[in-house]
Amino acid sequence: MNKTQYLYAAYVVTWVVHIAYLGYLARKAARVRREVEDLKR
């Protein structure tokens, strides 16, 4: 693996982590929204 590939790997890894976290937040938000709907009924 040449040097520049490491550079891109690092940037890609960074965004993978951030996108994974956003995904986790989205799922949590959906679950909480469902609970709020349940309560409203």
Binding site: K3, Y6, A9, A10, Y11, V13, H18, L25, V32, V36
Partner: protein, 229 residues
């Protein structure tokens, strides 16, 4: 509220994009390390952002222990989580940078090792949060946060004095010291971008936690009221 959020998100997105441009294009190529050095513009700002989050967690936890305000607890939880996310980035980008530059994945350099222990401490905080039962999770977690933060000082010193026996490669050659102005600019722009992004994440996570709290309280209130419908 919604509009403020959308506007803020757009600003953050613009800052991040600008940061990316600064890091990959605008900043000059480093003499000895070459393009790989550009990882620096993501690695270091992420570290600073993580530290900011952990400081926020410490302050929120201490005030929580004094005031017992649930909002502070939600904020503490959020800041620890976001801090761990950024700390993870630091620990992943560090070795990816080290490998091509020094031929090793890891070194017991004081900074990198302290970051690892920091990560361990706050992950243990998150695990405690997840596995604690009963209404006083917030208090126990806040106590742990105080321990963790105080420990950080000891961690750094301990690693400097008792681990770094062999000459170690210094990560980054010292931030800001003797840094080319265009590089400093790229570094600071990315720090601003990531710090703002962390703020955005904090906001989202905090709101989520608060809503969760309120849902729980509503459930409890209903149970007490005996569901008189």
């Amino acid at each position: 509220m919604k509009t403020a959020f959308i506007v803020f998100s757009l600003i953050v997105f613009a800052l991040l994009t600008n940061g990316l441009y600064q890091a990959l294009v605008a900043a000059p190529t480093e003499a000895t390390m070459g393009d790989v050095q550009r990882i620096f513009y993501y690695h270091v700002p992420s570290a600073w952002t993580a530290f900011l989050c952990f400081i926020a967690n410490f302050v929120a936890s201490i005030i929580y222990l004094a005031k017992r305000n649930q909002k502070l607890d939600a904020f503490a939880f959020a800041s620890a989580e976001v801090g761990v996310v950024f700390c993870t980035v630091v620990l992943l980008t560090g070795p990816i940078w080290a490998r091509p530059v020094w031929g090793i994945w890891w070194t017991w350099d004081a900074r990198l090792t302290s970051t690892l222990v920091l990560w361990l401490i706050y992950v243990s905080y998150l695990v405690l949060r997840r596995y604690a039962t009963g209404g006083q999770t917030a208090t126990i977690a806040a106590a742990l946060a105080v321990f963790g933060f105080i420990d950080v000082v000891f961690v750094y010193m301990a690693i400097r004095w008792f681990r770094t026996q062999h000459p170690q490669p210094v990560v980054g050659g010292g931030q800001g010291s003797g840094l080319h102005p265009a590089m400093l600019h790229a570094l600071l722009m990315n720090f601003l971008a990531f710090a703002m992004y962390a703020g955005l994440l904090l906001w989202l996570r905090y709101k989520l936690e608060r809503t969760s709290h309120l849902v729980e309280e509503a459930h409890a209130a209903r149970a007490i009221a005996g569901d008189a419908r």
